[in-house]
Symmetry: C2
Subunit: 144 residues, 2 copies
Amino acid sequence: MSAQTEKHAVLSEQLKACDVRPTPQREVVLKVILDKRDHPTADEVFARVKSAMPTISLATVYNCLDTLVSCGLVRSVNFERGPTRYCPNLRPHAHFHDEQTGSTHDIDLPESLLQKVKTVLPPGYEASSVEIIFRGKARASTSN
Amino acid sequence: MSAQTEKHAVLSEQLKACDVRPTPQREVVLKVILDKRDHPTADEVFARVKSAMPTISLATVYNCLDTLVSCGLVRSVNFERGPTRYCPNLRPHAHFHDEQTGSTHDIDLPESLLQKVKTVLPPGYEASSVEIIFRGKARASTSN
DNA sequence: CATCTTATTGGAATAATTCTAATTACTACT
DNA sequence: AGTAGTAATTAGAATTATTCCAATAAGATG
């Protein structure tokens, strides 16, 4: 089995495991998000996907992204005003938003910290997720 | 001095202290945000402001909100996809977003926790702010 | 292979925000 | 007070981001 075919099979399995039909569109959307590990907007995903599949529509990209988010293969993030961004990193992590460059960096979060943070919740509050966004400046920045 | 006049004077002072001209529009926008302590969108602020000042324009509401945010009298928050919301609570706090009701609750954050959270940042990262958003369900919910 | 369901498509519709150019309100001088 | 200069407001147009819709296509089920 070629590397290509195998990679394809992996994506396909990930989708099936979430009970969503592994359509070519979903596979290619998932692929471009996993390939370049940044935080693209739907439009940016659309642009990247078009080279592999020129006939795909923007509506489908939105549909696929929503599907991938709701089955947990991709996370969506909203920094300030502006389009929703999509994130391939599924480990618990925070986002650091560099205000000078506009770039976004993932910051791994140990489970212990997440637990600690949840202790500020008054009784009766059940958090299913915790999102942490830092803003500021970073010395060396390459990713986004 | 009447309570009304005095309140007016306070708002006016707050604006001047930030080096922004205390225009009637800015005062009324700030007032409606401080009066009902929820997390309104620009449109909701516009609707509330219109009863006090029917001639105000939506563009002005956006302008005033931007000004108030940048001089630190109001905070802006972005939950998922959707319009920016504005928050009168200036104490350090997190937001709890109740997924059933859609309501948002402020959760006070002790300074010690903020410090603790910042320890996850690698060297070279300087955070000027930390935003924390919980999502989940809360037992008793009234505010938003 | 007929039927039923689900996904995709392109375009129109809506929502949220920003831009623009014209007017109005202040401020600072004289 | 009068006027030049700057800043704020206004209404509406323009832009951006996203969703909706109706028609077609693809896949699953029996």
